[in-house]
């Protein structure tokens, strides 16, 4: 008696028979029918602001997908190499393997630049949507009992997202990430009593050393994502246990939830919305450049990458001499790549 054959089994189509056989196979081994019964028609209230958390979740999935692609090409190593890729202005320049492989992803791998930009834009959207989601939860009071623990887990996720942002920002080992790391080094050194030693151990010696990129890499692609996924799992579980909050409205009471059931309305909307979020990120990534590391060049502790035009004119009497880039040096030793966007205040 291991089949679910019913008297009308013969009248079912092949597809139906296959589906019921497959469902039976799985249920007899997992008793998943209980779960489907419990949550399959769970009601989700509908309000645009409930999308913000969804955006965060979906952009995180996009980050995981694009990031996995990037790991296949990225070399988390600070070994000095001479760049020999197809970006001519930096040819022959000494840089770390991390920077060189970032340039290779951008200029020699088809779709590599697209994936880098998808990853970066999705990361920005991730943090931004977490921020907005938290504001929504805060201002609607949705953090109150019994949801305090979930609010705290969300807060931890926010911090972890920023940690992911920082570690990812540091990986290409370009001028921007080097200066970012230097600021972090300064902050770590400022920790009372143990700061000097933490910085020393973190960087494997003096700043910047040759270890930090590979160390941040393992945090960025394994440890932090694992913690985020676990915390997200608990976040979702508690959401299901506590049920969603809802706005006041006719027929809405403290004791009910009004909305559409997971199967099929909410699943279609949420699943479709994942594709919309993914699509919009891809659209932005394919049309707007972000973090052009080739403009900044490799890290040099005495250079700064940002050129802010604050005064508007270069002949202003208070215009400071631009020491950001070595392009204007009197001896004429212009480092290619860094002089491309030489501007003066």
């Amino acid at each position: 008696m291991t089949t679910t054959q019913t008297p009308d089994a013969q009248s079912k189509s092949r597809g139906q028979r296959f589906t019921s056989a497959a469902a039976n196979y799985i249920d007899e081994r997992t008793s998943i029918s209980g779960l489907v019964k419990e949550v399959g028609r769970k009601i989700f209230p509908d309000h645009w602001s409930f999308m913000l958390g969804e955006v965060a979740l979906y952009s995180f999935i996009v980050i995981l997908l694009s990031g996995t692609f990037l790991t296949f090409f990225f070399q988390a190593s600070m070994v000095e190499v001479h760049y020999d890729g197809s970006y001519a202005p930096l040819k022959g320049i000494e840089m770390s393997a991390a920077m060189a492989s970032t340039l290779d992803i951008s200029f020699d791998i088809r779709g590599g630049l697209l994936m880098r930009q998808v990853h970066h834009w999705a990361a920005l959207l991730f943090v931004a949507s977490i921020g907005l989601h938290m504001l929504r939860v805060y201002f609607t009071g949705a953090f109150r009992k019994p949801r305090e623990i979930n609010w705290f887990i969300g807060f931890v996720l926010f911090i972890l997202a920023m940690a992911e942002g920082f570690t990812g920002y540091s990986l290409p080992d370009d001028l921007l990430s080097g200066n970012g790391l230097r600021i972090i080094d300064g902050m770590v050194k400022g920790i009372p009593v143990i700061g000097t030693w933490i910085s020393y151990l973190l960087f494997g010696g003096e700043f910047p050393g040759v270890d930090i990129v590979s160390r941040l890499y393992i945090l960025h692609i394994m440890l932090l994502p694992a913690i985020i996924i676990a915390a997200l799992g608990v976040h979702m579980l508690l959401l299901v246990i506590n049920k969603h909050t809802q706005f006041a409205g006719p027929g809405h009471t403290n004791d009910n939830v009004v909305g559409s059931p997971v199967m099929p309305g909410f699943a279609a909307k949420a699943g479709g919305f994942f594709f919309i979020v993914f699509g919009v990120i891809t659209l932005i990534a394919s049309t707007f450049s972000i973090n052009p590391v080739w403009v900044y060049g490799p890290y040099d502790p005495s250079l700064f990458q940002q050129v802010l035009n604050l005064t508007g004119t270069s002949d202003s009497p208070t215009a400071p001499c631009d020491l950001f880039r070595p392009g204007g040096r009197p001896n004429g030793s212009v480092s290619p790549g860094r002089s491309t966007s030489l501007r003066r205040w």
């Binding site: 009910n256 059931p261 099929p264 479709g272 502790p301 215009a319 400071p320 001499c321």
Partner: protein
């Protein structure tokens, strides 16, 4: 029990059975309770959509969703085509842009087609009635809680965890101590040196020539015209084994002012040469390169957090989060007229750290 309030039944059997839970009583706490509550008007009547009323529109929307899914298929195929049609030609930046753009647009179409199609399907064609589900208190029922308590009581009784205090306390002690080896294991993340000693010294040595960054060519005092600024590194640093680490500490800015413009404090009289002064380029706030020099005001500006230092007053902080002036490098000229350092920095450069003595 899930219950729809429209005019159709059909979902009554499904959904979570929560009928046994009585509605939880809420304590108003400190909230203001309105004395004249508006009675719950109940659910508004379901307003049928056009697709509910007109089978023709229903069919039309169905075709529209299907068309969106078809657009998605085309987009994904176009993305594959773009991957082949727009290859990256080494050295041709336009090809990188085209590859990124058209591949990206194809994927975008593939994704948005599915996304917009599915959402439209849900909104226009799927059963549109709101359903209702009862909330139940997150708190477990009294019966469940009593059983859980019994589990713990039994566990405690059978193990003797609460009774055998010595056993329990030594176990806690052992658990606290076990992670110690894991912490110690991390010592070799960095070499055996003392970081404090390393932080207090830079590459500069007495008699070492000041050279241009990054070429390493020495600088004569006469190379500096009034008002000019040079980025400087110590002679030989480019051949150093730890070039970047050394440069991160030894980078210097060289500026020439009129000698009478400089306010020189006691003990620093021979640290400058004919109005030429050298200051560490590493910000004392968090270590960014102090990369901007204002020729007219003689101010140095750190672009990271806008700390400003006044060169005329020995790089004193005049604005921003930095707390200490930039350390000055004592300089002079050698017999050939080249600028040299007469010593290392007299204090550690860069941001503060715990062991730094002020």
């Amino acid at each position: 029990m899930a219950d729809d309030h429209g005019d159709t039944a059909g979902s009554k059997a499904a959904g979570k059975d929560v009928a046994q839970h009585s509605a939880p009583a809420y304590d108003a706490g400190t909230a203001v309770v309105a004395s004249e509550e508006v009675p719950n008007p109940g659910f508004p009547p379901y307003r049928p959509r056009v697709t509910d009323l007109d089978p023709k529109v229903d069919k039309q929307q169905e075709r529209r969703v299907s068309a969106l899914f078809f657009v998605s298929i085309i987009g994904s195929v176009l993305a594959v085509a773009a991957y082949i049609v727009f290859p990256i030609i080494p050295g041709d930046m336009d090809s990188v842009r085209n590859n990124t753009l058209f591949l990206g647009l194809g994927i975008t179409l593939g994704l948005l087609g599915i996304g917009i199609g599915a959402v439209h399907w849900s909104k226009a064609l799927m059963e549109g009635h709101d359903l209702v589900e009862q909330r139940h208190s997150t708190r477990g029922s009294e019966e469940t809680r009593a059983k859980a308590l019994e589990v713990f009581t039994l566990g405690n009784k059978e193990s003797g965890f609460g009774r055998r205090t010595m056993l329990r306390n030594t176990l806690i002690g052992a658990l606290v101590v076990t992670p110690l080896p894991a912490i110690v294991l991390f010592r070799d993340l960095a070499p055996a040196d003392d970081p404090v000693k390393l932080l207090k010294h830079t590459f500069w040595e007495p008699g070492m020539r000041l050279t241009r960054d990054p070429s390493g060519t020495p600088i004569k005092a006469s190379d500096l015209t009034l008002g000019s600024a040079f980025q400087v590194i110590p002679d030989g640093i480019n051949d150093s084994e730890h070039r970047i680490e050394e440069k991160a500490k030894a980078a210097v800015l060289l500026v020439r002012l009129k000698p009478e413009e400089l306010e020189i404090s006691e003990g620093r009289e021979n640290w400058s040469y004919d109005g030429i002064v050298a200051y560490s380029k590493i910000c004392t706030h968090v270590g960014c390169p102090v990369a901007l020099y204002e020729q007219q005001t003689h101010h140095l500006l750190c672009p990271c957090h806008q700390s400003q230092f006044d060169i005329k007053r020995e790089a004193a902080v005049i604005f921003g989060p930095a707390k200490r002036p930039l350390p000055q490098l004592p300089i002079s000229v050698d017999s050939e007229g080249y600028l040299i350092a007469t010593s290392d920095f007299m204090e550690p450069i860069g941001p503060s750290f715990w062991e730094r003595q002020l």
